[in-house]
């Protein structure tokens, strides 16, 4: 059938989830005429699973997305229900912000932003075909036979692509949350040489809050002092609702065990690989048989709905079994399920088929992000969407790609892990995946990244100026604290009152701040000097920088060493079979993955330190024979 040409864009984004939204906004904000497709515009920034943003590692990603000029942080600040800084008993590097979101408002606010962003169009429609000419993407064709041309296309199809839902023995083609799946695009991708595989994830049931007995659960409140995600905000207001904690018991496990055979997971219907950190309740009961109870959180889905999310209890068991086991749980005896738990399987690629700028190795100007790349989680998706949007815009402007290093951002760790090491399950970020955790903190994401975001034309001038101001205020105040000193007589009472030992000689305020018992606000008691008015973000930064100076310095030295190999570029047209001295296994891997730097090569499994030395010698040889 003849396709009707509709329009021409610089960049087309397929999908409007967390990856698609960031990609589209980044591209449009960088001045590219952008079109974002969604099968249903109600699915824009939809949260089909847990109603929260952030958490360990994930919270770091949100801060980084925000620092670069992305939207996720601002949007959750507008729509949060409850905010909590996790891990505060531990050090500042692993403090992680998490906020419960009002799902519907999150969607509405994001949609509003998309609607009002210059250069950005959105369109309801299913993309069924990629137009590829001479190895280069040219546009897309929709189900209604319309054609849209573009210089670059970003795929962010999430669980829509080839989506299939499993509940007990029933299985049906579906996108998330009962939305229509994208059925034809997979074939078009395969035709163009893109290999697809199946991953799986799942979500628990939603029930009505009015059917729950909260008196049998423990209330989980947010922090007294809420903290914004976005560096653009100083205040975000009060927490609005609590969450609730309760536990499974032997009865629950008995019901589940007796019905193992009815689970789609054990029945063998599901071929996709699910993530280990997000197991279904039947998986938990099966694998950790000796665990007497599993905890679950009851979390609100929004202010305009009575629906509650049962965190910790995803399942692919049939609906009657779901009802039976949920009801064994204290507080859930009379629960009324309004949406059953389900498992969902979808098409995705092997991220090792991508370059570090998230462009396909097979099709030029085709960029990929989110679950399509084998990751899991809203934040991981958004981070990739942002980078795919940025790099698509840079590429079609003929500019150098922006690749964040493992030493610069969790975003860098995430993408390097996916592209260099690949993944056998939906990939989730963890702080332990980062080598330089002490430097990659959520409190300094702006200091690490806002300049980069501004340089490529993404972060706004306002954001950049805020960053400069913060940097200057922190530096100035840090210098003042170092210069202002006290005699023992002036501070020893103060120190005694805060339960810390007195000093013998003169001491600076900075030295006092290094003590765990003393905070910056405590210092106000002895601070006679003109003390500046600092914002929350500034105070946090100041405290962390001074208190942990020694450790941070140590890590910065390690980073400098790490960068030596990262900065050595490897030519993309190199034939590794011709590099004398390289082991065959290494040469094969290098030919397949085409690392962009010697550092990246060193992280490929099967490439040994000796191979790296051979590469270094080879590069030097080549450089000299050129001269």
């Amino acid at each position: 059938m003849e396709n009707i040409f509709m329009d021409k864009y610089d960049i087309i984004v397929v999908g409007a989830g967390h990856a698609g939204c960031e990609a589209a906004l980044a591209a449009a904000r960088m001045g590219k005429k952008t079109l974002m497709f969604s099968i249903n515009l109600e699915a824009i920034a939809m949260m089909p699973c847990n109603p929260s943003i952030g958490g360990t590692g994930k919270g770091h990603l949100v801060r980084e997305i925000d620092a670069m000029g992305g939207e996720m942080g601002i949007n959750i600040d507008k729509t949060f229900l409850q905010s909590k800084m996790l891990n505060t008993a531990k050090g500042p590097a692993v403090h992680s912000l998490r906020a419960q979101a009002d799902k519907n408002r999150y969607h509405v606010e994001m949609k509003k932003t998309i609607e009002t962003t210059a250069n950005l169009d959105m369109k309801q429609g299913e993309v069924v075909e990629l137009i590829v000419e001479e190895g280069r993407v040219k546009g897309v064709i929709t189900k209604t036979n319309t054609r849209y041309d573009a210089e670059a296309v970003i795929l962010a199809t999430g669980t829509f692509l080839g989506g299939k839902i499993f509940i007990g023995s029933s299985a049906f083609e579906s996108g998330p949350n009962g939305l229509a799946p994208a059925k034809q695009l997979s074939d078009s991708l395969r035709k163009n040489g893109i290999m697809l595989r199946r991953f799986k994830t799942g979500t628990p049931a939603r029930c009505l809050g009015s059917s729950l007995d909260y008196s049998k659960m423990q209330e989980q409140k947010g922090d007294e002092k809420t903290v914004p995600f976005s560096f653009m905000n100083d205040e975000i207001g009060e927490n609005k609702v609590p969450c609730w904690l309760t536990y499974t018991n032997e009865e629950t496990h008995k019901v589940i065990r007796e019905n193992f055979h009815r689970s789609a997971l054990f029945g063998g219907q599901i071929e996709g690989i699910g993530p280990r950190y997000c197991p279904s309740i039947e998986d938990k009961v099966n694998r950790f048989a000796d665990k007497e109870r599993h905890q679950l959180f009851i979390e609100p889905e929004g202010l305009d709905t009575d629906e509650m999310y049962i965190q910790g209890m995803s399942s692919s068991l049939p609906e009657d079994v779901q009802r039976d086991f949920y009801k064994t749980i204290p507080g859930l005896e009379n629960l009324r399920i309004v949406r059953p738990a389900y498992a969902i399987e979808y098409d995705c690629i092997d991220p090792q088929d991508l370059k570090l700028n998230l462009e396909s190795r097979k099709i030029e100007n085709l960029f990929c992000a989110g679950q399509f790349n084998g990751s899991s989680g809203y934040e991981e998706a958004a981070a990739q969407g942002l980078m795919a949007g940025i790099n698509a815009a840079l590429k079609i402007s003929g500019k150098k790609p922006l690749v964040l290093g493992r030493n610069e951002a969790y975003i860098g760790v995430l993408i390097d892990d996916l592209v260099t090491k690949g993944t056998n399950e939906p990939y989730r970020i963890m702080t332990s995946r980062a080598e330089y955790r002490l430097v990659l903190r959520q409190d300094n994401a702006d200091l690490r990244l806002t300049e980069k975001g501004y340089e490529i034309g993404l972060a706004s001038k306002e954001r950049y100026e805020r960053y400069l101001r913060k940097k200057e205020n922190v530096e100035k105040e840090s210098a003042r604290l170092t210069e202002t000193t006290f005699a023992p007589g002036e501070v020893n009472d103060f120190l005694k009152n805060h339960g810390t030992s007195p000093v013998q000689g003169r001491v600076s305020m900075a030295e006092l701040l290094k003590r765990p018992q003393i905070s910056y606000s405590d210092l106000a008691e002895i601070d006679n000097d003109s003390r500046p008015q600092l914002s929350y973000h500034e105070v946090t930064q100041l405290e962390v920088q001074i208190k942990y100076e020694g450790y941070i310095q140590k890590q910065l030295t390690q980073i400098e060493r790490f960068r030596r190999l990262e900065d050595k570029a490897l030519p993309q047209d190199m034939n590794y079979d011709c590099v004398e001295g390289l082991r065959i296994e290494a040469a094969q891997k290098l030919n397949q993955l085409r690392p962009e730097s010697v550092g990246q090569a060193s992280r490929i499994s099967g490439v040994s330190p000796a191979d790296i030395n051979v590469l270094l010698v080879y590069l030097e040889k080549k450089r000299r024979s050129k001269n």
């Binding site: 590097a93 950190y277 665990k291 910790g312 332990s432 002490l438 001295g581 000299r624 024979s625």
Partner: protein, 456 residues
């Protein structure tokens, strides 16, 4: 390009009167300044300077040396290079190298100086292949090594240590990355006990580094006794060929003579010492000093006594010198008479093995070899199973691992946040992995999910 500083022995093992320790990298001069005391007050670029290598920890003199500092790029590697020329004995070289490593250098990999020289533009293209060969040789060798049985025991120990470290890391990781889960919180008390226990195991392995050295460099045996008691003859008998000068004039052997031999497959470094006696002869005096030094460094002393005449004051003096060292006494020259009885020796040196011999006739030699073998494998000198740490690189990595755990323990004691402690424990885990060539990092995350029930 800034590189770390590397060091290695640059001369071939077991040869030559002079040995060279080479240090290359930006800290080369700093390291030299820490361990070298020049006779003239300053160290000048590209000028040989005479002085002593001193252990900065205790001020002890290690050796008398010539050293030269060559500022980059005018050096072999085009980096700052220091070369220390010392006496060629492996003991001296090893000690100087260890000092350099303790004071900030890393042990160079095979071919690494050459590699740096090439990468920094000092070698021409034709030499690039040679560099690759060196790197390749290293890889091939690593595969051979696994065949060795002792290495097998050693790797098992390291694997065990790594398993224990993984347990700690898994607990740290799950506590850091899953604060909201229903899992046991790690306590500082448990952390301290766990880290301490691993640190102790590393220390135990390091303690074997010395016995391991016996396998690598040989058991250090010195032969002592008054002049003309037959020391050189014994040495010749053990070597099986005449090398030391043998005469009947007392004091003919004027210097220590070191010989690497194999007794029942045990590598032995045999030192024949000049007679320890007072003399006016300057050269002989130097010899005597050297004898004493060799004597002080030895693992085993063979004390020779002339059985054909009664014990003299000189014998008593030597006996006093042996202190609590392991001693085998040869009552020699049995063919000429037996004026000295075994019991006399047992009274003077309780626990000593006494052998009646006549070295020139070949009597008692095989008995002596039996005893040496017994001592090594019978657990008196060292226990076979403990001969594990045989390699400076391994020793170094173990030292590094130990240091990391000590730092971690210190942080545990002052209750620093878990993620700081994790860094040091993780570095120790990596160092242990480098010893046995296992560097995968994903195994910790795998174990986290294997052991803990996590997730929504």
């Amino acid at each position: 390009m800034r590189e770390d500083t590397i060091a290695a022995i640059a001369t071939a093992a077991g040869e030559g009167g002079i040995g060279i320790v080479r240090i290359s990298g930006e800290n080369a001069l700093d390291i030299l300044k820490k361990i070298f005391e020049p006779a003239s007050k300053s160290i000048k670029n590209r000028m040989l300077s005479y002085g002593h290598i001193i252990n900065p920890e205790n001020g002890k003199i290690i050796d008398e040396v010539m050293s030269v500092y060559m500022k980059g790029p005018h050096s072999y590697t085009a980096e700052d290079v220091v070369e220390i020329q010392c006496h060629g004995s492996s003991v001296s070289l090893r000690k100087i190298l260890e000092l350099a490593l303790k004071n900030g250098a890393r042990l160079a990999e095979r071919g690494e100086f050459t590699k740096r020289a090439f990468l920094n533009g000092r070698l021409d293209l034709s030499q690039a292949e040679a560099v690759i060969d060196l790197i390749k040789a290293k890889t091939d060798r690593t595969f051979d090594v696994a065949m060795n049985q002792l290495e097998g025991i050693f790797s098992d120990r390291i694997r065990k240590i790594r398993e224990n470290l993984v347990d700690i890391l898994v607990n740290l990781t799950v506590n850091i990355d899953y604060p909201d889960e229903d899992i046991e919180e790690i306590t500082y008390e448990k952390l301290e006990a766990d880290i301490y226990s691993v640190e102790r195991n590393i220390r135990k392995l390091l303690d074997t580094a010395d016995t391991g050295r016996i396998i690598r460099e040989g058991l250090r045996v010195s032969i002592v006794g008054k002049p003309n008691v037959g020391k050189s003859s014994l040495m010749n008998a053990l070597i099986g060929q005449s090398r030391a000068i043998v005469t009947d004039i007392p004091g003919t052997t004027r210097d220590t003579i070191e010989e690497s031999i194999s007794i029942r497959n045990i590598p032995v470094v045999l030192t024949d010492t000049a007679g320890i006696h007072s003399t006016d002869d300057l050269i002989e005096q130097i010899g005597i000093e050297k004898s004493k030094e060799a004597f002080n460094n030895s693992d085993l002393v063979i004390l020779m006594i002339d059985a054909s005449s009664a014990l003299e004051e000189e014998d008593f003096e030597i006996i006093r010198h042996t202190g609590d060292r392991r001693v085998i006494v040869l009552l020699n020259k049995q063919d000429k008479g037996s004026e000295v009885h075994k019991d006399e020796i047992h009274i003077k040196i309780p626990g000593a093995v006494v052998i009646e011999s006549s070295v020139t006739q070949g009597d008692g030699i095989s008995r002596l070899e039996d005893e040496i073998e017994n001592m090594v494998y019978g657990g008196q000198v060292s226990q076979g199973e403990n001969l594990l740490v045989t390699n400076v690189r391994h020793k170094n990595l173990l030292e590094e691992g130990k240091k990391c755990l000590e730092d971690a323990l210190e942080m545990v004691r002052i209750r620093e946040p878990l993620e700081f402690i994790e860094i040091d424990v993780n570095r120790c885990y990596e160092a242990m992995g480098e010893i046995i060539g296992e560097t995968a990092t994903s195994d910790i995350i795998d174990k986290v999910f294997e052991r803990f029930c996590l997730g929504k």
